[in-house]
Amino acid sequence: MRRLLIGFVALIVLIFLLCVATLCFGAVNIPFADVVQALFSPGADVSSNILWNLRIPKMISAVLAGASLAVSGLSLQTVFRNPLAGPFVLGISSGASLGVALALLAGIGFGSVGVLGSAALGALLVTFVVMFAATRFAQTGVLLIVGLLTGYFIDSIVSVLIAGNSSESLRVYVAWGMGSFGRVTLGDVWIFVSAVVVGMVLIGVSLRYLNAALLGDDFAHGLGLNVKRSKICVLLGASLLAGATTAFCGPVAFIGIAVPHLAYLLFKTTNHRVLLPGAALCGTSLALLAGLFPASVPLNAVLSLVGVPVIMWVLVRGSGARM
C-alpha cells in the first residue's frame, strides 16, 4: 500500500513540475510569474500568445499522447500475453502512416479531412482488419501475426509511394514520421481529448478481463467473463488511443512498448487497477520530459535517447525483474 501511495504522489508531483517546465521553457523562456499571469488573465502580449497558441496545446498533447500510448501498450501486452506487444505491433501506426502518405504523397486528400483525418482513417482501417481477424480466430497468436503482416503490407505500399516521390511533400511526410507534440492546435485539441476519453473508457470497463486475461482466455471464461466482447473492447480502445496519438503526434513508437515495464517495476503488481493509471502517469512523465527538448531534435529520437537509458537503468536495478 505504501509503495502505491509514494509511487502515485511522486509521479503526480513530477508531472506537475514537468508541466510547469513545458510552459516556461522553449525557444523563448518565459518567467514563471508571467506564465501564471498569462494563464489566469490572458492578454494580447507575446507571452500570452506563445503560451496559449504553442505551449499549452503542446503540453496537453504530450500528456494525452504519453498516457494513451502507455495504456494502449499495457493492455495489448496483457491481451497478447507478450511483453513485446505494443500499439505498433498491431499495424495501427502503419495504418496511420498510410493515410498520411496517401494524403501527402499521392495527393488523395479525402476531401476536407486533411492529413489528420487521413491518419485517423488509416488507423481505423487497420483496426477493422485486426478486429475482423479477432472475431474469426480465437487464438491471440494468430491475431498478432495478422497485425504484423498487415503492418508490413502497408509499410511496403508507403515505401512505393515514397520511392516515386521527390517533391516537397516528401519532406513534410518525413517530418511527420519523426513525431512531434507541437502540431496540435487549441482548436482541434478537443478531438484528441474525446478520442482519448472514449479509448480510456473502453479499456477501463474491461478491467476485470485484463486482470484475468494474464492467465489466458479459458481462465478468463472460467471467471465468468465474456471473453470475445471484452477482447474487442480492449482492442478497439487500444487502437483508438494509438491511432489518435499517431494521427496528432506522428508514429511515436517507444512509449507503448517500454512504459508498461517501467510501471510494473515501480509498482510491483500485475493488478491493472494500479498498473493502468500507473502506466498512464509514467507515459505522461516521459512524454513531457521528451517534449522539453528543442524542436530541432526529432521527438522519436529524443524518446529513445532519453527513454532507453532510463528504462535500462530501472531494469538493471530491479534485476529481480522478470519479463
Binding site: 479459458d218 465468468g224 500485475t270 493488478n271
Partner: protein
C-alpha cells in the same frame, strides 16, 4: 450450522455426448450422470479418451455434441456467465502462469466473479482469500511469483484460487500429475475434506487407481467409447477397472 447436511444433486447431465464435432470418435454412446453434493468422483480413462473434453463440457467451456448439462437443476447454457463462475470452476494444473504475478494476486482473481466493473475487492473478499490461503497452506509464500514455485506448491495455489471462488462444483484436471506420492495422498485427503465440510461436489480426473479407490466416493470411467460409473468400492468387482491392465506392451 446444521448437523446434517442434505445431499442434493449439483451437476447433472442427460444424453450427453462430448467432443469436438468433427474430431472426436472416442465417445460414442450418450450417457446420463449426476454429481451429488459432498462427494468426490474420480474420472478415469486412457489418454485421449475425452476426460478433459468432458470436464470442459461440464464447465461450460465446450458445447455438448448432444444432450444437456444442468447445474443445480438449471441448464448450463441458461446461466449468466458471472453466476456460473460463482458456482462451478475447472482447475487445470497445466495453465501457463504469467511470470510476474504473485501468489496472492492470483488467488485474489478467484473473487473476480463477485467484483464490480472496476474489479475491486471488499474486506469480505480479502477475508475469504486469506481463509483459502490458510486452508491450502500457501500463505507462507503469498508474495512470491507463482512462476517460481515448485509444481506441488503451484498445484495448491491453483486449488486455493478455486476455493476462493466459493464454487459448489469443483472440476480438477489431473491435479496430481506433477505431485509426488505423499503430496498426492495429502491432496486427495484435502479434496475429501473440503467436499464434506463445504458440501461441494468434486470431479477429479486422475490416472491413479489407488487414490481413486481409496479417497473417492465413486469412479467414472470412459472406456471403449462409453461412460460407466460405480461406487469406488465396487468398481473393481464390476469390471470397471479391467482396462487398466489390458495392455501387454506400450
Amino acid at each position: 450450522m446444521s448437523e446434517l447436511k442434505k445431499s442434493s444433486v449439483l451437476l447433472e447431465c442427460k444424453d450427453l455426448l462430448v467432443g469436438y464435432v468433427r474430431a472426436l470418435e472416442t465417445m460414442k454412446k450418450p450417457f446420463d450422470f449426476a454429481l451429488s453434493s459432498g462427494t468426490v468422483v474420480a474420472l478415469m480413462g486412457e489418454n485421449g479418451c475425452g476426460k478433459s473434453s468432458l470436464l470442459k463440457t461440464f464447465a461450460g467451456l465446450l458445447s455438448p455434441v448432444t444432450g444437456e448439462v444442468s447445474l443445480e437443476g438449471k441448464p448450463l447454457v441458461e446461466w449468466q456467465p458471472r453466476e456460473r463462475a460463482q458456482a462451478i470452476s475447472l482447475v487445470r494444473m497445466s495453465s501457463a502462469v504469467p511470470p510476474r504475478m504473485s501468489v496472492s494476486e492470483f488467488i485474489r482473481l478467484g473473487r473476480s466473479p463477485y467484483s464490480g466493473i472496476f474489479d475491486s475487492r471488499t474486506a469480505e473478499d480479502n477475508r475469504i482469500v486469506d481463509e483459502s490461503m490458510a486452508l491450502l497452506d500457501v500463505a507462507v509464500f503469498a508474495n512470491r511469483p507463482i512462476a517460481e514455485l515448485s509444481d506441488g506448491e503451484r498445484s495448491r495455489v491453483f486449488l486455493a484460487e478455486a476455493v476462493a471462488q466459493q464454487v459448489k462444483v469443483l472440476l480438477l484436471d489431473e491435479p496430481n500429475a506433477f505431485l509426488d506420492i505423499p503430496r498426492s495422498h495429502a491432496l486427495f485427503r484435502l479434496l475429501k475434506k473440503i467436499a464434506a465440510e463445504r458440501n461441494m461436489g468434486i470431479i477429479v480426473s486422475t490416472h491413479s487407481v489407488e487414490y481413486a479407490e481409496r479417497y473417492c466416493d465413486r469412479i467414472m470411467v470412459v472406456n471403449g467409447g462409453a461412460m460407466r460409473v460405480a461406487p469406488a468400492g465396487e468398481a473393481r468387482k464390476s469390471g470397471l477397472l479391467d482396462w487398466t491392465e489390458a495392455f501387454d506392451a506400450i
